[in-house]
């Protein structure tokens, strides 16, 4: 962690131009669920990018029956994160029966395993900063968005906007953290 009083003084809650490149390169984790994190198939969505655009190449519902949807559906079933028809159904926000029917039509073999993927693995023990540095969560405030060191690092040192911090925390903590939560906590801590 690298906290500078000068950067905190200058912090406005907007994205800073001279921030480290690794912040600009941050992406959302791949997660099973329609427009929930980066898509399971395709490029990862960058932090602050429009999530719906990351899913534009997806075929869903009735589109799954089109002849050219077979390749996409096969690719999805072959993904490491996907363990069952139910996983595919959640990823596409389409009925399980629709997915089964479309897979059958495209001659995609369905595995016998019916276990859903375990809820996305949550590494609750450590919080990972954009730089890759990780801290034990027990040393941070609960909730993490109220931790003055985390907010100083993300907003001031990393030059992230309030909205980006909210999206980063929501993605990494797998719960909803709003921009308003971040702003409020940052104001309480005199960072904003």
């Amino acid at each position: 962690m690298n906290i500078s009083a000068k950067k905190i003084e200058k912090c406005t809650g907007e994205a800073r131009d001279d921030r480290p490149d690794y912040v600009n390169d941050l992406t959302l984790k791949r997660k099973i669920g329609w427009q929930k994190g980066s898509p399971v198939v395709g490029d990862r969505v960058g932090l602050g990018d429009d999530l719906s655009q990351g899913y534009e190449h997806y075929r869903r519902r009735d589109e799954l029956f089109q002849p050219d949807a077979g390749k996409f559906l096969s690719e999805l079933f072959d993904c490491e994160l996907i363990n069952s028809v139910s996983d595919v159904s959640r990823e596409l926000n389409s009925e399980v029966e629709t997915v089964k029917k479309a897979a059958n039509l495209h001659c995609i073999e369905l595995s016998d395993g019916s276990d859903d993927s375990p809820e996305q693995e949550r590494d609750n023990d450590r919080f990972i900063f954009p730089s890759g540095e990780s801290w034990p969560t027990e040393l941070l405030a609960d909730p993490i968005e109220s931790d003055v060191r985390v907010l100083s690092q993300l907003l001031a040192t990393n030059g992230m906007s309030v909205e980006e911090v909210a999206q980063y925390l929501s993605d990494r903590l797998s719960r909803n953290v709003t921009a308003s939560d971040v702003r409020q906590e940052a104001q309480k801590a005199n960072i904003l």
């Binding site: 009735d62 799954l64 089109q66 002849p67 050219d68 029917k101 479309a102 039509l105 495209h106």
Partner: protein, 90 residues
């Protein structure tokens, strides 16, 4: 010659010959097909393109046979129903 009257669902596989007198009906129960089928039957997959807007180009596989249009629900545009030979998928 066979008289057909059945519900239409996307993804269903139907055995059809050459179709004439095709009618598409819409009701609260769903969409139905009424037609005369003649000659040798083959398997076809039912497909649709929904919420058509006036003048919209519909990009479909070259082997499709159009069945007709059904009314959209609420403010949605009409849906185009068509079938495609099942062999296209193999």
């Amino acid at each position: 010659m066979k008289y057909l009257k059945q519900s239409l669902e996307v993804g269903d596989v139907l055995k059809l010959g050459e179709l004439t007198n095709v009618k598409i009906g819409s009701s609260t129960q769903g969409v139905s097909l009424e037609a005369i089928s003649q000659g040798e039957e083959s398997e076809y997959v039912v497909l649709k393109t929904s919420d058509l807007q006036r003048g919209e180009e519909v990009d479909v596989h070259p082997d499709v046979e159009v069945l007709g249009l059904s009314d959209g629900q609420g403010i949605a545009g009409q849906s185009l129903w068509y079938v495609i030979p099942k062999e296209v998928y193999q």
